[in-house]
Symmetry: C2
Subunit: 308 residues, 2 copies
């Protein structure tokens, strides 16, 4: 077993993911020193109040000095800037990774900026909630969630083993994958669902014949399920749309093509086509529950969680 | 206060809604006699095993004899047939209602069949889960959920008061609404979300470049939220699509129009448009939680409900 422990870990960004990492690193004793960095003095002060780290800096360059592991936890649109800032200060042999939801773009932004003396190994923990900021994090966030590492030809086998051990110690299951394949997989399992959720909530908000108060009042009949994803962090999702454009546009056209066929079946009263689709999709839910990727309780277990 | 009690209640259909009604009627002592009817001998036997009622019939006509309240709990496509079957056997003065998700079509199917001697008062409890059948029901299903009554000019004020008292005793909050307005409201808060969920799950299932096992394995990153709605009863949803066609097609075109604009913003890199939409939708989630229509716990409280 590779030792998952690092002497000094620098977290660049302390939002939902960064602050969850800080909490689990401390709980599992995965670092002697946790360094917290964010550009916002206000957010940094909050991180300090929450006692998330051992050292606090608004400068990313200062934060990474002597760090053995640097985890960039910022929206994917900011990765290039961060790489430029930290590059001169990185310790030789340090592992530099990230948590971004797109991988090809992160590699293109960061790789040219980073010195050859570091191990660059992009990563993506598939974990999150609709909440954001340092208060939203919790140590259990990564438990039994997947973390995908996408080596970009700039990391040793030892670095892959070490980072895998680290994420496993955080509670994750780890896969490695080609960056382009990652971007396609995430476009369908994550990016398309979020974009569709944002879109449907926007459509409902625009209606005049049905009032917004009616939409809210009767939302338990289906609509509310979409509002969770559509409440995700706007900056993060703007950047994902801009940085995984090709894969997202491809998924959107497939989705629209299928929706046109479904719309046509409704218009022409093709009950058999509707029944066949609605039966096929039911089986997929069962597979997801069997794979332990969702709760079997009806309605996501909302009643059990104390809904009035 | 109007007395919510009836001497004899006949449930035509004993799926998720019918069997939940049977359970809450018994628990709250809302009827002296509960009559259970379903055409399937097998389902009727299961209802008997579950001890859902006091009398059991495969004939709807036999089931409604002497009933003071008849609740039709079948897919909306079957309402006309049920009305034809029960019409000759209905007791004078009985209240006939239903639980269908579309109201104009139910009125058009049932109203011409029913005798003038009964009170016909369509209704729709906005309650359900992705499970179906007599085993899926539970007495708490209607608690704090809305039930919408849509008078069709064939019920007295007393009947509206009586049925309102009944649904309130089942735990519901009751609104009355014009049937056409109901169909528009439900098209946006329920029908469109279900259709979009079915569609996206279908699209994901069709992909070749991303395997189905990858879709399932990584579904917690967003996709799984849609699979719950897409696991709803296929017959029920086929019928809703066929019986609220006009309102659904209108909502689908608005949705598609908005999606095209969003797609264009992604293609042309319009970050401001994306950010504005993603910010606006976040506020709606907060309104829904403030209105008590969803849980505030992150991730629908899945962790609290025991997810591994």
């Amino acid at each position: 077993m590779t030792d998952p422990h690092f002497n000094k870990v620098a977290l660049i960004g302390i939002g939902l993911i960064g602050s969850s990492l800080a909490r689990v690193i401390r709980r599992e004793k995965l670092a002697d020193t946790i360094v917290v960095n964010t550009r916002s003095a206000e957010t940094l002060a909050r991180a300090r109040e929450l006692d998330l780290g051992d050292e606090y800096y608004t400068s990313a360059a200062e934060a990474v000095r002597d760090a053995d592991l640097v985890i960039v936890c910022v929206p994917v649109g900011a990765c290039g800037r961060v790489a430029t800032e930290i590059a001169p200060a990185l310790k030789a042999g340090a592992i530099v990774t990230d948590v971004g939801s797109t991988k090809r773009s992160v590699i293109e932004q960061m790789s040219p900026e980073l010195p050859d003396t570091v191990e660059f190994l992009p990563g993506h923990p598939l974990a999150g909630t609709e909440h954001s900021g340092p208060d939203a994090g919790f140590a259990e966030l990564f438990r039994n969630r997947w973390c995908i590492l996408t080596p970009a030809g700039r990391s040793s086998d030892e670095a892959v083993e070490k980072l895998t051990a680290f994420w496993e110690a955080c509670g994750s299951r780890v896969d490695t994958m080609d960056p382009d394949h990652h971007d396609k997989v995430l476009a369908i399992v994550s990016h398309l669902p979020h974009i569709i959720a944002y879109n449907i909530v926007g459509t409902a908000d625009d209606l005049q014949t049905v009032t917004e108060s009616e939409v809210i009042k009767y939302s338990a009949s289906g609509f509310r399920d979409f509002t969770r994803l559509a409440a995700s962090d706007p900056t993060m999702w703007r950047d994902i749309c801009l940085h995984n454009k090709d894969a997202i546009l491809e998924m959107l056209s497939r989705f629209s093509e299928d929706l046109s066929a479904l719309q046509r079946a409704i218009r022409w009263g093709d009950g058999q086509a509707l029944f066949d689709l609605f039966t096929r999709t039911r089986a997929i839910r069962r597979s997801i529950i069997d794979a332990g990727q969702d709760v079997a309780a009806p309605d996501f277990g909302r009643q059990a969680s104390g809904q009035k």
